[in-house]
């Protein structure tokens, strides 16, 4: 029971697509990030809770958040600190920008090699991209086993972890060796609230870039020299090394061909009887329109 684990939680700052207003999409059909508040990706919150529970059970364990994004994504790391994590790393660099899931998972796996945790816990997917690819790709790149759709990390010891998975047709309990990567489903326990003392301790925590931002002038009453734990680390491509061509736009084979903005125009309604013939004709119609198929 004296084992101490080092856990990295992958978290992403995402636009809050759950509260979509009229101006959530640009006329071009892309997400209007300015109109949506940036939040901690919900399933990453579930992942964070699972990691913190291991820390509760095995005091001395350490939990870190790893995130990639612009300077303001440091908010995700602060949210972790407010709930009991031990720190975090923000991957931020123009060279990371424009990354698809392949380039993102490359950057993350490079950072993980440097952090060397016993386990990675991540949300199943982010609510902006909904790909559910980054977690599994990170595991592949590291050559680690992965357990997806986790609802609960039931047990952990020095060599293995036992996980309950929530699947479409039931549940499954699997065991994996360590190190491994686990992606957590939204049905897992909700994340604990912010802790008052942690919030008061870390409320002035910031990255070097946030501190330089003129908008934040006068916001930080306590200097990092006085309390070094207030500094949130930022890493660039130079800090994580690897192949420069695999990062950002250059490392992203995904190309968006076309984005279509679908507007339902039909006004009239059709009444179906529920007979086999009617259902057949509806299926035929939907398939012809490529709405199913």
């Amino acid at each position: 029971m004296s084992k101490e684990f080092k856990i990295v939680v992958l978290a992403k700052q995402v636009p809050d697509t759950r509260n979509v207003g009229k101006d959530a999409m640009t006329p071009e059909g892309t997400v209007n990030r300015a109109a949506l508040p940036a939040i901690f990706n919900p399933e990453d919150m579930n992942a964070l809770e699972q990691a913190l529970r291991i820390k509760d059970k095995f005091p001395g364990s350490k939990v870190y958040i790893l995130t990639m994004g612009p300077f303001r994504a440091a908010e995700v790391i602060r949210e972790g600190l407010f709930r009991g994590t031990d720190g975090g790393i923000l991957l931020t660099d123009r060279r990371f920008a424009g990354a698809d899931t392949l380039a993102t998972s490359y950057a993350i796996s490079q950072a993980i090699k440097k952090m060397a945790p016993d386990m990675i816990v991540a949300g199943r997917q982010a609510i902006d991209g909904d790909t559910a690819q980054v977690g599994p790709q990170v595991a592949e790149k590291l050559g680690w086993p992965q357990v997806t759709y986790a609802e609960e990390i039931q047990d952990i010891d020095e060599n293995k972890v036992t996980v309950l998975r929530r699947l479409e047709r039931g549940i499954e309990v699997v065991t994996s060796t360590l190190p491994c990567l686990i992606t957590v489903h939204a049905t897992a326990a909700p994340c604990r609230p912010r802790n008052a003392k942690m919030v008061l301790k870390y409320k002035y925590s910031r990255t070097a870039n946030e501190e330089k931002d003129p908008l934040n002038e006068g916001k930080y009453a306590i200097s990092v020299d006085e309390k070094p734990y207030l500094r949130i680390q930022e890493w660039t491509v130079d800090d994580v090394g690897g192949d420069a061509e695999s990062y950002g736009f250059a490392g992203s084979p995904t190309k968006v061909k076309k984005v279509e903005n679908i507007v339902f125009k039909a006004k009239e309604s059709k009444v179906l009887s529920g007979s086999d013939a009617d259902i057949d004709s509806l299926i035929g119609e939907l398939m012809a329109n490529h709405e199913i198929g």
Partner: protein, 593 residues
């Protein structure tokens, strides 16, 4: 995703009150804990920022968790089995969330794992929880007991019990007995010293004990055999782990179902004495009671807020005769009065809290090495007196307003409000207790009447409120160009009301005590309404959002006071008592078989 702090700007406004600077300075003892605790503030701005952030945490838990669980908790309630209480599932989740958030012990000193917050944010947290779930608000609010331990118990007891509050252990204050309700001098539960165990042993029965199966209990008991009055009572702390207390039953109540109200049996339950022997009722319970009354004030404001919001929302959504019902004068008038009562009760709630804050923080400064300066002693005396004067008025009027608002919230809903589908019916049931427990409105009058007859309220109104210059801030003038004119009219009205109040009280000259008791409530309410009117007026000088309520409330209050004045003025003091006593002649109707 709701945040009951963020969605209510009136709360943050209270943190910006000019008195906060002095309060925080005293409470933080010039920021002596900075450097010692990594969560202690560096200066005033840092401290207020911390208050704001912690209210944000509590506001979010209240909005997302407590409020979401409230309906089910109301339906489930706690259960009593084998002498123990199990909370409803929702209540357990509420408790877990607030414990994980580390906000239990919010007002305790840091050395006991508290946040050392002043009364203002502490009371605000109580208001927030009550808006979400008025029943749960009692379990939360009973951490008041820890305040009593912190203030009066020995170092040994403090070290033993106080850090446990932060871990989410709950409290109860065990005062009432079957034959000792409002009259606590009649408490019979026996405390006897056990020489062998070196502990006090408690034996007897307590009734109507909120959260009676708590981890930590404060018990009022008779330690002096052969006595029958207050001087024989002492105050004890009992730890659930020591055993000896069982829950006989949970009461089946009209409302606040989340809060288990228990009948308890003490059989050789070990206990330790808190403070000095024989001072139980005289000193400690009185202190605890004032805190509890402030708590019911906060609870009332929370329920009022919830009721007002439900009514406002429904009035905006319900259409009749081709338009939203909020467009009808009969409805928007009702809503404006609800809002005015809500804001008036909140104003006196935080004014009282600030007074309590200053004198308690000054008391806490005193050590064998540090005595209060003559100026500090004067300040202490003034605010301690104001707190005593304001507390009964707050308790009485905010609980009555809360009931009126819950009543009107149902009225706005019409027939739908009478159905169980809408939350207003729960608010109505929950509201009902507020004018009763921790001293009925009638008993608040008993506590307040002396300040009416000895002129204290009049003096306070004139010195503290009437004397203040009516000059709106630049931001208010910019937002509301006619604010100055409107508020001067409000002031003139309040001055006239004060003169009327003075005349009314003068009518008591030479009258027998029973007659004064008979008229007491009306005079206490007159004083309260004037004070509340002034507080809204003063708030309006700093923020335009209070101007409407200052007007609506003072206009209404003038009408209420007129009614009271004319009633008293026209009363025939010679005959009215005996006329009213004639109701006793109907007793034979009640008792006929």
């Amino acid at each position: 995703m709701a945040n009951f702090y963020k969605d209510n700007q009136d709360l943050k406004f209270q943190l910006s009150h000019p008195m906060m600077k002095r309060i925080v300075e005293l409470k933080e003892n010039n920021y002596a804990d900075y450097g010692k605790y990594d969560y202690a503030p560096k200066d005033f701005a840092d401290a207020i920022d911390s208050y704001d952030r912690v209210m944000d945490i509590i506001g979010q838990i209240c909005g997302d968790i407590l409020a979401a669980n409230a309906e089910q908790v109301d339906a489930d309630g706690p259960v009593c089995k084998d002498g123990r209480v199990t909370y409803a599932e929702g209540t357990k989740k509420n408790q877990e969330a607030l414990t994980q958030a580390g906000v239990y012990g919010i007002a305790l000193p840091r050395k006991y794992d508290g946040l050392n917050f002043s009364m203002v944010p502490y009371v605000m947290a109580a208001e927030l929880t009550a808006r979400a779930d008025a029943g749960y608000a009692n379990i939360w609010g009973l951490q008041d007991c820890a305040e009593t331990i912190a203030e009066f118990a020995s170092e040994e007891i403090k070290a033993e019990f106080l850090p446990r509050i932060h871990k989410g252990e709950t409290c109860s204050m065990d005062l009432t007995e079957p034959d000792a309700g409002s009259d606590l001098q009649a408490v019979m539960l026996k405390a006897t010293w056990d020489e062998g165990k070196q502990m006090w042993m408690l034996n007897g029965v307590k009734r109507f004990i909120t959260n009676g199966d708590a981890d930590i209990k404060l018990v009022l008991a008779r330690s002096e055999e052969g006595t029958s009055d207050a001087r024989g009572l002492s105050y004890f702390v009992h730890d659930k782990k020591w055993g000896g207390v069982t829950v006989r039953r949970i009461e089946n109540k009209l409302g606040i179902h989340g809060s288990p109200t228990c009948e308890l049996v003490f059989r050789n339950a070990p206990a330790k004495i808190v403070g000095d022997r024989k001072m139980g009722l005289i000193k400690y319970v009185m202190s605890l009671m004032n805190g509890a009354r402030l708590g019911v004030g906060a609870q009332s404001v929370g329920i009022s807020e919830a009721a007002y919001r439900e009514a406002l929302k429904y009035a905006n959504e319900r259409e009749q005769f081709g338009k939203k019902i909020i467009e009808f004068p009969a409805v928007y008038e009702m809503l404006a009065v609800m809002k005015a009562k809500l804001q008036a009760s909140r104003a006196i709630l935080y004014e009282t809290s600030r007074c309590v804050d200053i004198y308690k923080a000054l008391n806490a400064l005193v050590t064998p090495e540090r005595k209060l300066t003559p100026e500090e002693r004067k300040e202490n005396k003034k605010y301690s007196r104001y707190a005593d004067m304001l507390t009964p008025l707050l308790k009485m009027t905010s609980s009555e307003f809360c009931n009126q608002n819950a009543y009107d919230a149902i009225q706005v809903h019409g027939g739908s409000g009478y159905m169980k589908e809408y939350p207003v019916e729960r608010l109505y049931r929950d509201a009902r207790i507020t004018t009763i427990y921790e001293g009925t409105s009638q008993l608040q009058t008993v506590a307040a009447i002396r300040y009416v007859t000895n002129g204290s309220y009049l003096e306070m109104i004139r010195n503290e409120y009437e004397s203040q210059e009516i000059k709106v801030s630049d931001s208010v003038a910019a937002a509301c160009p006619d604010a100055q004119v409107r508020l001067e009219k409000v002031k003139a009205r309040l001055v006239a009301m004060t003169e009327q109040y003075e005349k009314t009280v003068a009518l008591m000259e030479g009258k027998p005590e029973e007659y004064i008791d008979f008229q007491a409530r009306k005079m206490c309410e007159m004083a309260a309404f004037i004070i509340e009117g002034y507080l809204l007026l003063l708030d309006s000088l700093r923020c335009e959002k209070f101007i409407d309520s200052a007007e609506v409330f003072s206009e209404r209050a003038q009408a209420w006071n007129n009614e009271r004045h004319f009633y008293i003025y026209n009363c025939n003091s010679e005959t009215i008592l005996s006329t009213c006593k004639n109701v006793k002649s109907d007793l034979d109707i009640v008792y006929q078989d």
